[in-house]
């Protein structure tokens, strides 16, 4: 069995760092990310989940809930902006 005070935060922390690096590279260099901004915003969710895992490894549960709910609010705002720019044809 894993020890819940030593091994499990270690696994969670390095998994969070891995997600953060892979998600950041996916946001910048991901496939078709420069053509459609929705794909870039969806890739940003992976990096955000990595940050949530890093917060979880320090046992800050309130920070995990806060960053997940802030991610939902950020999605609302950014999708409204993308839809408005698509209507105005000012995206490219």
């Amino acid at each position: 069995m894993l020890s819940p005070t030593e091994t499990l935060p270690w696994i969670t922390f390095y998994l969070g760092i891995t997600l953060l690096i892979i998600g950041s590279l996916g946001v910048v260099f991901g496939p078709k990310a420069s053509k459609e901004p929705i794909i870039r915003i969806i890739n940003l969710t992976a990096a955000n989940n990595g940050i949530a895992l890093i917060f979880l490894s320090y046992n800050y549960t309130l920070a995990v809930l806060t960053i997940l709910s802030v991610n939902a609010m950020f999605d609302i705002l950014v999708f409204r902006v993308i839809i408005r720019l698509e209507e105005m044809e000012a995206l490219y």
Partner: protein
Amino acid sequence: MILIDFPYAVVVLVIVGTIGGLLQTRPIDKILMLAVLGDGLVGMIATYQYLDVAMASSFMTFVGIIIMMIGLIRTMEIKKAKGELH
């Protein structure tokens, strides 16, 4: 007899969700693979035995996925009205 611990299965779920979600090109496939990633996050929180936080965070990921799908449908409708969608 337990052959694999639960956190290692969660690690596999998270890695598969991340790689699959970043390398897909259709937006609906990306959203569904990132739902797998959110399930991995909920499983890792449940490994810490914060079950109330797991409940609330599963609801938050659900709300985020609903918002993304609504925005995706609106964007596709606008593209279809402009004739850019084949």
